[in-house]
């Protein structure tokens, strides 16, 4: 299976949809938050890309911003690609992004999990409720400022 080079993919996308690519490196393309739905629709439906299998949606908490990561696979062209979106600068409480439920139904449970554990709100999702934790749970556990009670077992000393 071929993995798309991020720079080449960024070139292709910016040829078709203007103003969407923020930056790119060898592995992934960074897309702006407003154009993400259009870009994903373009990648799903154009032949030569036709990413029909959404492998995973996840989110990472870098302390000053969040990143939502999409991994896409194409069964027809046998290729895979990574798309990232940076959002939530300034630690707003619930950053918002467009949901891709209408493109891939497989985004259903994964976006609910990202909302549950990271607190990112997906607009236009039909049923955005907490999925793994109970409804009244305070906070979003996977954020870096959610501290648990356990002691850290990692001691960053020399190699043994």
């Amino acid at each position: 299976m071929i993995e798309w080079n991020g720079n080449k993919l960024a070139e292709e996308i910016s040829n078709h949809i203007s103003d969407s690519v923020v930056s790119s490196d060898d592995h992934s393309v960074y897309i702006s938050k407003e154009k993400i739905y259009e870009v994903l629709k373009f990648l799903k439906e154009t032949s030569g890309f036709s990413f029909d299998l959404l492998s995973s949606i996840t989110a990472v908490d870098y302390i000053d911003h969040f990143e939502v990561v999409y991994h896409l696979k194409s069964l027809i062209t046998l290729s895979k690609a990574t798309i990232k979106v940076k959002l939530g600068f300034g630690r707003e409480d619930q950053p918002e992004i467009d949901s891709s439920y209408n493109l891939w139904k497989g985004a259903d449970f994964q976006e609910r999990e990202v909302f549950d554990l990271m607190g990112i709100h997906f607009v236009n999702h039909p049923n955005l409720k907490r999925i793994l934790l109970w409804d009244g749970f305070p906070g979003h556990p996977l954020r870096k400022d959610f501290v648990t009670n356990s002691q850290s077992v990692v001691d960053d000393g020399e190699d043994k």
Binding site: I2, E3, W4, E12, G48, S50, L75, I76, L78
Partner: protein
Amino acid sequence: MFEFIYNILDAIIDIFIKDMRYESYIITAVTGLIIAFAVINGVLGGVLVLIWGERRLLGRFQQRTGPNRWGPQGLLTSVADAVKVMFKEDIVPEEADHYIFNLAPLLLVIPVFIIFSVIPFGISLYAVDINVSVLFILAITSISGLSIICAAWASANRIAIFSALRSVAMLISYEIPVGLSLVGILLITESMSVMDIVIYQSIPFILIQPVAAIVFFLGSLAEINRTPFDLTEAESELAAGYQNDYSGMKWGLFYLGEFAAAIAAATVFSTLFLGGPNGPILPGLFWLTIKVIAVLFFIIWIRASWPRFRIDQVLNLAWKGLFELTLVNIVVTSIAVIIWTDLDSNRLLYIGLVNWIFAFPFVLLIFKLLKTKKYQSDINSSSYYPVGSDSPKFKKEIK
């Protein structure tokens, strides 16, 4: 047997007390109690042995030993189970209807014991001889269907009511084939009494009325809620269904009632179709026991091997399969009975031959009709998704 015990008691009483008032009434009552005591204890002992036997036999089918700890070869396991169940706490749900809640296990257990009062255990070993005992047996077994709906309704539990409604639909549908399959035997023997049927069977009726035997066996399996028809207590779906809220000895009565019903079904089948206590040299009780054990082995073997049906398949089988087989059986048997009347010596043989030739092929026909269904989706058709049919842009420049 009644007169035998009556005379013994009469003689004993006459030694001690001369001229007691209401003597005949008292001795009749005591005799009845002694006979009932013997029959019920015999059946209960049989239930305990059946529980052990079924678990042991299922274990052998599943390549493991069954219970073998308590007593020699594990024979006292059922006693240990009974003691455990007696000491458990008796919980009644808060919203339950107390009277019906307590009544439901009794409604299951009592009719089963009543059936054993008309079964002959030997040439003159029987409790009661009624001249409509076949009708009596059919009527009494339909009371136990009431206990399921009582138990579920009184528990005030949605899942229990769900399973009970399924079971009542099944029980009602299967009573008709069970009843009608006995009409063939009644036509041949011209009597509804079980004693007469047993005396008439010089050749066992299973060889003469094969269709009726098959239908009666399957119908009895459905009446006693056994695999493949055990969807009321389908443990993997409803987690014990209508028995959900019972604990302690009330649940013990349900458990006991199920196994007693299995023994009752096996006994009725062996009496009506296999000849009951008929047999050469050995006493009748021994032959009856052997036949009952053979039928029970067959029932347990089916339980170990087959999965269960869904409710709509069960009802289809009753109304579209077994009901028509009983009608065919009645038509063929009545024609045969008219042709060879009671004065022929080899009557049973001729009727048996007619049944095998004309009625048995319908069994095969019904099984074929109910079995072959055109399944729409085919495992290996030729339409597959076009994986890898296109190539990505810039294929050569990507590493």
